[in-house]
């Protein structure tokens, strides 16, 4: 892995008056910077606060963008340290997309499990067992 340096918040160009919400602008730019290799795995991102101050924008919109990129698997969160670009895995986005396809079923499973007061550990074991059976 390359030696990571902290990029300046000026890495981004945020236009508050655009029709595209600020968090979307930021997400698109992080994706593009990763795709173009300007942000490499392990590279640190400027903090929510740094970006919010640099552009005088509400910090919640910045943390929303970072949070969603983390959910997509593009960013990694570290306790008390800057977020970093996640290691590139070819199937990363594909995995997130595939997970999203079972989201509705998982939601109904979670609902049923709550109503039945099932412990998470037992339910997880049950799913693992079922998935093992079908392999």
């Amino acid at each position: 892995m390359e030696n990571a340096t902290t990029p300046s918040p000026r890495l981004f160009t945020l236009v508050p008056s655009s029709g595209t919400p600020i968090y979307r602008q930021l997400m698109d730019q992080v994706r593009r910077l990763i795709a173009s290799g300007q942000l490499v795995p392990g590279a640190e991102l400027p903090s929510v606060r740094e970006v919010a101050e640099e552009y005088t924008v509400n910090p919640t919109t910045i943390s929303k963008a970072y949070g969603l990129l983390e959910l997509e698997g593009l960013l990694q969160r570290h306790r008390g340290k800057p977020m970093t670009i996640a290691p590139l895995r070819r199937n990363h986005q594909a995995l997130a997309q595939r997970l999203r396809q079972v989201e509705a079923q998982v939601d109904s499973l979670v609902l049923a499990a709550r109503q039945l007061d099932l412990p998470v550990a037992d339910l997880t074991r049950f799913i693992e067992q079922k998935m093992g059976d079908s392999q």
Partner: protein, 292 residues
């Protein structure tokens, strides 16, 4: 969900014969920055004044931190900082004297914060308030509202007489407050660009009624301009819902719709055998469309 900081139900106010507020039901979550947008005379100031208990409502209810707005106990009032459009500074005092007076009224006055802001905002303290410029008065009035570290900061047109540099400094201070998950800011403005920077919630007030309330990002995502270009002349009734404005010329239609979703372009392409282009709008354009 946390108890709302500000809550109203069916709030209305009539001045003389004229309704200035109509059926307003809103909740403000702790930690949010709400921008109240409306043209002159839309009722922004009236709404803030009723919320803060300066004037009574004609109908409905309003509460702040769970207490009825019009009979707020002192301990609730102490949690609020307010910057009115017309300041209530004491003309004959100097800035320093006015600050000292307000500090003496609050046991937890944040002297370090005020000292810093006096320097950063270049607030003159040695001259009588009556000789200060509009912008200098506005800065001083804002300091007075910040000194006791309010949980709810309410600003009525806070940037109206500030130059761009002072405005940016004020926005930074609002954002500082916004970083706290419990402190809440509510400000009225007609400067759309300021609202887009610092607010995460927006209320759009039109003729005393709220025509939009909610997430700023959601507003920008749900309002779009759609251009439909068909091979055949388009029917006068396009059968599209939630249309703010519509221009139809033969084979081309341009509409601004709310309630946008990703499935809409494909549906329209199918229905009219047409090309569909979608464009997101700035808050200023959305605001203008809502008044078209």
């Amino acid at each position: 969900m946390n108890a709302p900081v500000v809550s109203t139900r069916g709030l209305g106010k009539v001045l003389g014969e004229k309704p200035v507020l109509r059926g307003i039901s809103i909740d403000v979550e702790p930690g949010s920055v709400v921008g109240l947008l409306g043209k002159n005379g839309a009722g922004k100031t009236s709404l803030l004044e009723v919320l803060l208990g300066f004037s009574p409502a004609t109908s409905g209810t309003a509460s702040v931190f769970g207490a009825d707005s019009f009979s707020m106990p002192a301990d609730v009032k102490r949690r609020i900082g307010f910057v009115p459009q017309q300041d209530e500074l004491l003309e004959l005092l100097t800035g320093a004297e006015q600050l000292a007076l307000n500090a003496s009224l609050h046991p937890h006055w944040d002297r370090a914060l005020i000292d810093r802001l006096v320097r950063d905002w270049e607030v003159p303290l040695d001259r009588r308030i009556q000789v200060l410029s509009g912008g200098e008065r506005q800065k001083l009035a804002t300091l007075l509202a910040l000194g006791h570290a309010p949980d709810l900061l309410v600003l009525d047109e806070p940037a109206a007489s500030l130059d761009p540099i002072a405005r940016r400094r004020l926005l930074r201070e609002i954002l500082d407050i916004a970083e706290s998950p419990t402190r809440t800011v509510l400000f009225s403005t007609h400067i759309v660009a300021d609202l887009e920077r610092v607010a995460n919630q927006v209320w759009i007030l039109r003729e005393g009624a709220i025509v939009w309330q909610g997430d700023l990002d959601a507003l920008k995502e749900s309002v779009v301009r759609v251009t439909i270009t068909a091979r055949e002349p388009l029917p006068a009734a396009l059968g599209i819902e939630h249309v703010l404005s519509q221009r139809l010329e033969d084979r081309r239609a341009q509409l601004v719709v709310t309630g946008w979703h990703d499935a809409l372009p494909a549906a329209l392409e199918d229905r009219f055998g047409a090309e569909v282009a979608v464009e997101h709008l700035s808050l200023e354009e959305i605001f203008l469309e809502m008044h078209a």
